[in-house]
């Protein structure tokens, strides 16, 4: 019987064939049992895919890639030169598109939640930097996962954490430059800017639009005051195909974010009326829209 435990996936093989073995033992077919064990040993030792594709050790770690693709309807987004039309019929382009993805969690087929280490989970995605759009999650416990959840933005805890713990993508003098409000202290979760001939002109006559969405609920002041909370989670579910994280396989998840849905969905935004939405009650409308702009495109297991 020890043969099962020596093989990397032995324990699972053991579990899988346990009932058969029990049956055989009950029938006292000792010779056949020995034969079966020997056969299993050979079979498993040969590296047969039938066993390896689903088997894993509980201590195994794997890598998972999540690739974000910013699109406009059925077209790929092209910064600056691409010209698009929103739900309100307004022509617009996109010059800047950046957002934070954080607090990534995976749910196993049994419903157990595996939290990706929070310290390493702050990703700043910038359409102008294609490498930033692929999130590589390492040391993920091997397993079969039915869903993946992530937050758009920076949670309230990290938003109020000591400045010494705001490094890397959260460094307000580094990567997070332009993604932080100093006067109303907090990170900008989602930033989209561009121009539209229909946008209400600014004092200098320019017709640009700027959506800077942040705000994590506040809770400050004497007495404490709750403010708008634009933190939103998005969950990708993989249906009957489980996301399979294994030691030697890197599953890849592709997510699209449809810019058109930032302007519509729950609320139809009009650049002719509100071209600048920053610390503004309308920010809640934009965040309610953009959380529905994220959708699963594909999930591929067995990517070597």
């Amino acid at each position: 019987m020890m043969v099962f435990f020596k093989h990397p996936y032995g324990f699972l093989l053991f579990q899988k064939y346990h009932s058969i073995i029990q049956l055989i033992i009950q029938k006292d077919l000792t010779m056949k049992l020995q034969y079966l064990l020997f056969a299993c040993f050979l079979f498993a030792g040969s590296g047969c895919d039938l066993f390896e594709s689903d088997g894993f050790n509980v201590d195994d770690k794997g890598t998972l890639k999540v690739v974000f693709d910013n699109v406009v309807g059925d077209k790929d987004l092209t910064l600056n030169s691409g010209s698009y039309v929103n739900a309100a019929g307004e022509t617009f382009n996109v010059t800047t598109l950046k957002y934070f993805i954080s607090n990534i969690k995976l749910t196993t087929e049994e419903g157990k939640v595996v939290v990706y280490p929070q310290e390493s989970s702050y990703f700043l995605l910038d359409e102008s930097d294609p490498t930033s759009l692929t999130l590589t999650l390492t040391d993920v416990p091997a397993g079969n996962y039915k869903s993946l959840t992530y937050m758009i933005g920076v949670d309230s805890l990290r938003n109020t954490m000591d400045v010494s713990k705001r490094t890397g993508n959260l460094d307000i003098a580094g990567k997070a430059k332009g993604m932080y409000w100093s006067w109303n202290s907090g990170y900008i979760f989602f930033k989209m800017e561009g121009a539209s001939p229909q946008a209400k002109p600014a004092a200098d006559g320019t017709t640009n639009y700027r959506y800077h969405i942040g705000q994590y609920g506040g809770g400050f002041g004497t007495p404490p005051v709750k403010t708008i909370n634009n933190l939103k989670n998005s969950t990708l579910t993989f249906g009957t195909d489980m996301l399979k994280v294994r030691k030697n396989k890197t599953p890849q998840v592709e997510v699209k974010m449809d810019v058109l849905k930032v302007f519509t969905g729950q609320y139809t935004m009009k650049l002719a009326e509100n071209p600048v939405i920053m610390v503004n009650p309308l920010g809640a409308n934009v965040s309610a829209n953009y959380i529905q702009a994220y959708a699963l495109v594909s999930m591929k297991n067995n990517v070597p």
Partner: protein, 341 residues
Amino acid sequence: MKRVWMLFLIAGCSTVDPKPETPTEYTFKAPEGFPATAYRFENTPITQAGFELGRSLFYDGKLSRDGSISCADCHQQEAAFSHFDHDVSHGIDDRLGTRNAPALFNLAWHSDFFWDGGVHDLDLQPPSAIMNANEMDESLDRILEKLRKDSKYPAMFRAAYGTEEVTTARFLKSLSQFMLLMISSNSKYDRYIRKEAGVTFTADEQEGLRVFNLKCATCHPAPLFTDLSFRNNGLKPTPNPDLGRALITLRDEDRLRFKVPSLRNITESPPYMHDGRFSSLERVLEHYNSGVQATENLDPLLSQNGRRGIVLSDAEKRALIAFMKTLKDDTFLSDKRFSHP
């Protein structure tokens, strides 16, 4: 230091560490009777080297885009680190801000900064002034680059933090170390309350303290002389009013509310109010006596028994001003630790 050496000589090679320690004047010590601090000291040990680095930065124009404006330009020691005689901040390129530069002291007890309370951590207060286009108009990454290339700063960072590395946190926490030690607790009032020998209040000052406790102390309670809350004190609205706290919270009930300032060193930090509209304490008291307007969210304390404002006789006003003069802390205002290095 002397004492450490003596101990060292006596104790020989026993437990006493001969390494110079941060002298007591560079350690944070809450004055007796002060409430619990709000600052997270566990993340920021104060050292003399860290303090001196912060002091150097505080007085350095490199923190502004063109080198012309330092923190100390709008926060002058003789004015209790406010901008003497300026109604609103006067920043880079002679641009004017929209609010009065507040006095700086006892900051470890504050959990919300600026007139609107938009920042909740002293470490994160400087970036707002630095990045404001009307104040210093500079970005943090450019400042860190300037400091890295500077002839004196790398050595100061090494002295304070062990290596020359200039990081966002080290830069900001040095400024915090400097500001945290700016404690004002040695005014005549403090010495009177502590019953120090030879400190007495005149009849006017005593009467002022009585009136103060009766009519002012709810919003300006000792020992901080502010309750740190946000209130609308009924100033006459300007054509395009500054909405104050509501700009941060987006709540209608916070429109026209501003943070209650401390009255410590108040005689040294004119002009007064969030927009510096009153040049003297006499005018401030007259506002409370007769000028309070029925604007939205007027603080209920300023509208009681069918009358707006706080009834103050001329004698009471004189006494209050005599009392407020006792809140001037000459030790703090002339403390060499906080002066230009």
